[in-house]
Amino acid sequence: MNLPVTGEQLTFMALAGIAALMAVGVVVLNNPVRSAMCLVVNFFFLAFIYFTLNAQLLGISQILVYTGAIMVLFLFVVMLLNLGGKQIFKERRDFKPILGMVVGVSLFGMISSQLILPMLKVDQIRADNAYGAPQSIGKTLFTNYVWPFEIASVLLLVGIVGSILLAKRRV
């Protein structure tokens, strides 16, 4: 078999294509729940791309954190607000979409122009087995990044105290 593309490229194209399509769907669709679902699928396929690159922990964190936790809350809020269909998201026609498009395209151009050249030199497709392993990430977290890690716990503490303070019904 002498295909013009390798299996890896084919896999990547399929995954990345769906992810990109879903990302477009998030912006284009009018129904907030459908937009959210597109974002979920997008995150999911991003995670799959990470899996193919041998970054399993990264991929599973993507699913665990974004798909499993954040998007569920997102969906929860959207449902509670019960936005009905198209009327609410109908925007006025003004310069904003065009401006956004220009900014987006220039950002895309900037990133791709900066990234493509260095990427061409890369000959190793995926990370080493131990690179993204939980053990090595844990080690890094508890050696070089132990201080930010601890401060992040303070951040969570502040968040907990604050949300209880603001949300408690009765003072």
Partner: protein, 435 residues
Amino acid sequence: MQEWLEGLHPAILALIKVLLFVVPLLMLVPGLIWWERRLLSWMQDRIGPNRTGTITLKSGKKIKLFGLLQPIADGIKLFFKEDVTPNSIDRLIYFLAPAIALFPAFALGGTVPLGPSYGIYGLLTPIANVDIGVLYFLAISSLGVYGVVLGGYASNNKYSLMGGLRGSAQLISYELAMGVSLACIVMASGSLRLTDILKTQEQALWGAVPWLQNWFIFTPFGLLSAVIFGICMVAETNRVPFDLPEAENEIIAGYHTEYSSMKFAVYFMGEYAAMFVFSGIFATVFVGGYNLLPINWEYLMDSQWVGQFATLMHNLQYWLAPLVFLFKCAVGITFYIWFRATLPRLRYDQLMSLGWKNLLPTAVLNFIVVAIWILVTKIHSTLMGIVAGALAYVLLYFLFKSFLGATRDKPILQKRTLDYMPEPPKPQSNPVTGA
């Protein structure tokens, strides 16, 4: 056989692995339904479905199959029932939701080993022996919410919506305690890989009795984790006593009120498959997976007295491993059914307070204790580790109790009434809206 498997293209091997996991799962679901109905009726002093599948021979002799064909009849009925689709629904999501509910149930078992990690089983199970096994399980199980929430939303029915909301709140709450209870086991075995967790359980019991296996349920922290995980597992699968999302006397049937015929059957199947796989995870993590008895046959093989017998058992266990695993799953399901026959449904506030105020603190306490135990064992000795762990249990228990006592006994309102607070101030008008 082994050579043949090794020679296969990895993609084909992967396909075989997946089929070997999913096909039995699909085939077992009807059996589970039959088992549930029979067992439930037995527990409730009824007869249950025992007729379907009675074969009458020409001689007039009847062969009874205990109603084993009932699920097939049910399946046929569900296929040919009228498929009612309400009018004002979100059509796309309405049709997708059951499929989304089914997906995590089947994907969950991707990292569960059905047999030992050497020989032919090493090639065939688990589907992916990745070093994030437990995390994978947690991640996929957290996706179970989507089927419930989307089904509830898309039906455009307030009872469905309520069911969906209840479901998502419940699943999110119990995920936390489940994750922390699993984290204890991960810490004790030093790996997220499920095969490694199993290997740890095959070591000597408490590090002292070499011919017994150290199943985590035999250790104090493992027992606590197992209890927490067991409760959370029932809540995650929306089963009695945590079936608030489909509480029939409150919200009709919850998120699947508007689903009929085959779509309902898909939801149903997803629930049973999830029960099955959760039981499998429980078996793998806490009760030694595919090992029938907590005995290290390999160690006993050298023994003079039982060496022959141990060799026999070892080989037997090797070849029967998947069956043993399935048996343990079946026991898990039996417990599910037992709960259903025994326990009344929780009230919503009870559900929340059980999850947040009891299970989560207990799981965290367990987590801290395991950490202390491991640390002291590493830097001192095993004995001191055990002592430190026991001490930590006692200390933390009283600490938690005193904290709870400080907040629970006094009503919050009374605590907050300061001497300079005669009456609450009136809300001022909003400068922006003028309201």
